[in-house]
């Protein structure tokens, strides 16, 4: 049985092989990177954020208290602070005319919430099958009715309807797995 996140963090200060850290990295680095990329719009900066998050994780693993927050929540809190730091560094530089740096803490907060949500929805859609993604794309983003989708794709309209229902149900369950509340 795989170790829980909290167990891995507790073992980190004694981790001689790097195995615990690697396991935590593989569980969380992709989503933290997605969040950071969505917030910073810069792959290089996002990779720096992820590195810093894991550095903070092993330096402060002894302070982690599973009763206060899950490991995931903790990692996102660290990532959030690192992203804010990156924004501040960018704001301290001389601004270009086309620079759209965020001016206030409230704007930055809202921007981070938006970035997180945007990444989560994008990641959830990516976990759907191509057929399910396609019906959502055509119906929601394309504004087509079930009959129009059937005409366009050559799939029977009954199949398009049930596929759309399954797609949304699956999407909802993916959000549940991600602990998101629509």
């Amino acid at each position: 049985m795989a170790s829980s996140d909290a167990t891995l963090v507790e073992k980190l200060p004694f981790d001689r092989s790097g195995d615990e850290l690697r396991m935590l990295y593989r569980r969380y680095a992709p989503e933290l990177f997605g969040f950071a990329t969505s917030a910073l719009r810069d792959r290089e900066l996002a990779e720096e954020v992820v590195q810093d998050v894991f550095a903070q994780l092993w330096r402060h693993a002894g302070d982690y208290d599973h009763r206060r927050a899950s490991v995931r929540t903790w990692l996102y809190a660290i990532a959030r602070n690192r992203i804010i730091d990156a924004h501040r560094r960018a704001a301290a530089r001389p601004q270009r005319a086309d620079d759209d740096s965020l001016d206030t803490a409230a704007e930055l907060d809202a921007s981070l919430e938006h970035a997180l949500l945007r990444w989560q929805v994008t990641a959830a859609l990516a976990r759907l099958s191509p057929q399910h993604r396609e019906v959502i794309r055509l119906a929601h983003f394309g504004g087509l009715t079930m009959r129009e989708i059937a005409d366009r794709t050559g799939v029977p309209v009954g199949t398009v309807k049930s596929r759309t229902s399954y797609a949304l149900r699956h999407l909802r369950l993916i959000f549940d797995e991600m602990e998101m509340e629509p």
Binding site: M1, S4, D5, P13, F14, G18, L21, R22, Y25, R27, Y28, A29, P30, F33, G34, T37, R43, A46, E47, V50, Q51, F54, A55, W58, S70, R72, H114, L117, R118, W119, V121, T122, A123, L125, I136, R137, A139, H140, L144, T145, M146, R147, I149, V160, K161, R163, T164, S165, Y166, L168, R169, H170, L171, R172, L173, F175, D176, E177, M180, E181
Partner: protein
Amino acid sequence: MSGCRSGAELIGPYVLNALEPEEMDEVRRHLAGCPRCAAEARSLGGLPALLDRVDVDDVVAVPSPELEEQVLDRFVRERPRMRPQRRRWQRLAVPALAVAALVVAIMVVALPGGPDRAYARAELWSMPAGGGAAGTAEVEEVSAGTHVKLRAEHLPVGSGRAYELWCVRTDGRWVNGGSFHARGDGSAAAELTAAVSPGEYHVVVITRRSSGGERGSEVMRGKLSY
């Protein structure tokens, strides 16, 4: 627990406002008299607003493969500087706490009814390979992890009756809870144990039995309500 096959397949298109006007009216009338479909419509109703948050062409950014090694390298370089040091009070506190924990454990086991258990329940919905199956899963915490009491109907049995139960953790990892067989009429009743604590997951999935290292197709899914 028969479900509502006729209404269920229109709820997704209804939520996306992608039916013809007369069909929209038909679904509205149906929802007024069908609590199960109305609950389904409420459950899916927030999705369009979430979908509005993204562009259709957004893609999931993936970190470079080198990043993992960079993180590990940095860890190896910093590790010698961060050896944990146990303070004197901690050396004394650990044995004392162990004795206290033992006393508490003995008291809890000795009390009538034993320790409290966590309960949860999931309504299981059919997935594409489920052919209209429906069921429930009742969860009880046990020392080995989770005891799941499963009931199902309308399972497709034409191409085999063996199924598997999975608990999906919040980090997306799947923990196998064992396999069971459906009866000839597609019903099933099974009691299984998964090596994962109830609080660590809240989605239960039934699949066809795994074959050749590949997980079987999904038949039913549901979210646990604790």
